[in-house]
């Protein structure tokens, strides 16, 4: 099958340091086929920066006057009442920059007020156990971590995999279910990913190079007189013939052998399906295929924008080390001085190093998050931009302190087709909690999945497989269910006082203040 997604375009120059890329902008020239679809094609982009440890005072704006609150949980027994507070997200102009907070700041020439209106800034998403360094938590696979020992065997596919392979998500064939531009995520450096990959896939290799992205959006070469599908079909025939006995005694294959061959055939099918996709994504500059620098990450962002808009994929993940965006040279060892000494605990951190830390994250915000959001903030259909139909979110490896995963910051852009409110600052932290705990990061992920059209019944299958006891006990949401041993926070009984089970039981619920239907 051939599916032609044509992206005519007009060029504009965007870049710095002599780098420029032409990417599409004008509504009138955008793919009619996409716009004409009855259903809206949604897109998901997950972003994560290493470490975290940006203090709330640098990460978030002040809660505006006139903020509202709504109750998540009433007080019950010894459990305190839990309200969510939210208000309009606003920005100011400071010099050449538009500023939401110290960390959420970008040149006003690129960071428009319109974009602020399409963003949300949220705090108070918690992972209820200790991960330390991790590489997939931002998308729901907590297993790939360095210090959360108990989690290593509890792997969930990352949500880009779940979304990318959800039936009905990709409304047209795509070249790849997910784009993976990553320094860490999914690079096979942890068996938690290898195992997850048994079921799910990452057709674009996790890459810190540009070439796979260029390949992804390359216009097909002259069509061959020999359709490549035919070759795949013949190879498929051999695999299938093994299981049916056409090439030997199939009775000597074990059940596991057959499953393995079947899985291989599934992957061949995916290759064949991709062959039907032809793209015309426009002229793409010939980049050198060298390791990512900040400059090249800008190029990668541009290429991702093109890939998302011309239908090469509808899902992407981007992770980068914070140090890559360092703006200061006041350190010799990023990990020890900046991420740790500068990343918390808040009452012990070196203020200078904290500044270096948040400034690195700020540069990521400006050069990756805002850049991608603005690229996508062009009309896909009259009055509706690609960004409007997307959910872009950025979080960090850790929360407000390096190595801890509570109070994860989440910055979003796009409403996922009207699924979410935008233009809000939302604080899920509960001042009544002894550690200002919030709601579960699992619930955030579940909301993200639902916004992409993945029903809870579909993603809940992963808990049923990975944690059947928890699933049977009525736990919901996406991601492992595990409380840290109680002595981690020695003063508290985590189960009873901090994250009682009700948070997990309700983790499929739409988040009040953020989701429109909540």
């Amino acid at each position: 099958m051939t599916n032609l997604l044509k992206l005519n375009r007009r060029h504009f120059l965007m870049g710095s340091g002599g780098l420029a890329l032409a990417i599409p902008t004008l509504t009138s020239l955008l793919p009619r086929k996409v716009a004409a679809q009855a259903a809206v094609q949604k897109r998901l982009v997950a972003m994560c920066t290493d470490h975290g440890g940006v203090f709330p005072s640098n990460m978030y704006p002040a809660m505006p006057g006139g903020a509202q609150s709504t109750t998540l949980y009433a007080a019950s027994g010894n459990l305190p009442r839990h309200d969510v507070r939210f208000g309009n997200l606003s920005s100011t102009i400071n010099g050449a920059d538009r500023v939401i907070s110290n960390c959420l700041r970008a040149p006003a020439s690129r960071f428009s007020e319109s974009l602020v209106d399409k963003m949300s800034v949220m705090t108070g998403f918690d992972i209820t156990t200790y991960l330390g360094h991790n590489r997939g938590a931002f998308m729901g696979n907590y297993a790939a971590n360095d210090q959360g020992v108990e989690l290593r065997g509890i792997w969930y596919p990352t949500i880009d995999q779940v979304v990318g392979h959800a039936s009905g998500f990709n409304l047209s064939p795509v070249r790849t279910p997910t784009i993976n531009v990553a320094k860490h995520y999914g690079d096979g450096s942890d068996p938690a990913f290898s195992q997850a990959l048994d079921l799910y896939l990452q057709p674009v290799q996790p890459t810190d190079r540009l070439q796979p992205l260029l390949d992804l959006i390359a216009t097909d070469a002259q069509p061959s007189s020999r359709p490549p599908q035919r070759l795949v079909q013949r190879v498929y025939d051999h695999y299938r013939g093994l299981t049916t006995g056409a090439f030997g005694d199939a009775g000597r294959l074990s059940r596991e052998d057959r499953d393995r061959l079947t899985r291989h055939m599934d992957f061949l099918n995916a290759i064949e399906a991709r062959m039907g996709v032809q793209l015309e994504c426009g002229d793409v500059p010939a980049y050198g295929d060298t390791d990512y620098t900040v400059e090249q990450l800008r190029m990668a962002v541009d290429l991702i924008a093109i890939a998302l808009m011309c239908g090469a994929s509808n899902v992407a993940a981007i992770t980068v080390p914070g140090e890559q965006f360092a703006q200061d040279a006041n350190y010799t060892n990023w990990h020890e001085q900046i991420a740790h000494n500068g990343g918390g605990p808040e009452d012990e951190a070196d203020p200078e190093y904290q500044r270096t830390n948040y400034r690195a994250h700020q540069l990521f915000f400006a050069e990756v998050f805002v850049r991608l959001a603005e690229h996508l903030n062009v009309d896909e259909a009259p009055g509706v931009t690609f960004l409007d139909n997307s959910l872009l979110y950025w979080t960090m490896e850790s929360g407000r302190e390096t190595h801890t995963n509570w109070a994860q910051p989440v910055v979003t852009a796009g409403s996922a087709g009207g699924f979410f409110h935008t233009g809000r600052f939302i604080d899920y932290r509960n001042p009544q909690s002894p550690i200002a705990s919030g709601v579960l990061f699992n619930q955030f992920l579940a909301n993200a999945l639902q916004s992409m059209g993945v029903a809870p019944a579909d993603y809940n299958t992963h808990m049923a497989r990975a944690q059947p006891e928890q699933a049977a006990a009525g736990m919901k949401g996406y991601g492992a269910v595990l409380w840290h041993p109680d002595d981690f926070w020695s003063e508290y009984d985590i189960r009873r006082d901090i994250w009682p089970e009700r948070y997990y039981r309700d983790a499929d619920d739409l988040l009040k203040a953020w989701a429109v239907g909540a």
Binding site: D146, V235, H340, F488
Partner: protein, 590 residues
Amino acid sequence: MRACKLLVASLMVVCGCVGSIGDTEGVPGRSSLPPEGSAELDVSFACDPSAAPVPTGLRRLSKAQLGHSVRDALAMLVPAQAAAIAQELAQPLAAVPDDVLGGDTDYRSMVQSLGQTHVDAYYALGRAFGAALVGNATRRNALLGACATDATTANDSACIDSVIRRVGRVLFRRPLSEPEATLYRSIYDAPGLDTEALAEAMAALAMAPPFLYLIELGASVRDNGQRIYDLTPYELASRLSYHFWQSLPDEALLDAAEDGSLTTEAGYRAQVDRLFAAPKARRTTEAFYGEWLKLDAVPAMHANASRPDFAAYAGADLPSPQLRARLITDVQDLAAHYTFAVQGGTLADLFSSTASFARTSDVAALYGNVPLWDGTTAPPSHVQPERVGILSRAAMLANNQATTRPIQRGVLVLRRLLCEDIELPENMMAIMLELSDGTQTTRERITELSQAPGSTCNGCHTAINPLGFVAERFDALGRVRTSERVYAPTGELLANLPIDTRVETTLDAGPERTFDSVAQMSQAIVDSGRVQACFARHYVRFTFGRHEDLSRDGCLLENLRQHVAGAGSLSAMFKNIAFADGFKRVRKPE
């Protein structure tokens, strides 16, 4: 608020006992060590000849095996063009996902995950293989032979049939069955000699299951109730070649399978001797030694060369980007020397050798300017009396910090040489040492933090630490030292402290003993008998790609252990596994 605070620095201990903090390799604690005199100290294995073999399922080639197989296949099919084609295939081979270790998989052969990225890479590799193989007239003619260039077209079809069968025999490690030949012939649907069609047929063969997977369906039924089958001669040839070469059989081995000589005792022995004597055997033992001794974990020595403290620490020995590979080669040369060059070289030799294999001046400098080895003649002796055995070699000692890592050194000995099953604890606390103020040695700081009486850290670190402390005679670059120099991050020398390498520990069922040097500890490790048993276990993991099953592999393990115990030689052990009873059979899982 937290029970165990995370402190920041370049050293780390773990309590409770456990993992790691920071960007360092995980350092596990263990739930419990076998008590003194415990029968859990494996020094031999119980052999039950009636035990059924461990079931063996379909296995995909490891990334290394795939690379070797492609290159060796090219050498068999188009010898004169093989090198150039292999160069062209380097990129698609590199794109095959790495077999990444972790969890239960401590050898790459154990990694059997299969994802879209694998199949995508196999597809790309197959296409590249087919295109390269017939990419120009020289290659096509080399592959097809005279029928490609003669004047007649009448033999074109037979020519294509022939090449499909020839390439199939090499890649599938056996002749194509008739249904297979028909299938692949159907891909070539063009009249005459068509390059594109031929490339597709070749590509398809390289994507086929008999190439990418080790398929052992077996021949006659030995015990149908347990699904145990003798391997076919071709399957046996394949098992031998992947065992000794990590690659597919060569023509001689395929011929031996075809003419039946492989199934004779003399013919089989001749092939085993031939395979082990071939240069390709060394890449297999190198892979094993490298994984067994965790040589991949040797850090990039030059990574911190710009840090003032490390630069001051290293002095004239500031590592170059090449040093890491050279140190690994140094250890590999030592292992290969006693495996291949020295007749009857033993496992004990690895732990007692004073021979030096430094080939370059930077490595020689770390060893006190030992004479360089030329790589072929007898190696010179080390000039430093502390250089006894493999544990005194720089690759086993070095890191890229300005301080030693005794815990990592101790964990390596426990896990890889003594097969201590160090388990990660349920609850974890991790403590990183603060930057040194120069008042304490590394040993003193680690002891204070991890071995406080009654602390949760003490149980594990009492066993781990001595095995690392005894190597404190060597600094963080693997140089012999008499004192510990402590530097501030600025590079300022804070102190020059006396070192203490005396430890008391036990490596066997006996009482604690005192050691003062790596040489003494190495001898004790050999004398304990545990390293021989551990070596056998690790080799089974490596070569069969699975964990040993003590109830079913007992005979095999004991056989291997006996070959490396006492005067048994390493070469005999590596070869002998091919004569183990289970080697020629397969038990299929349900």
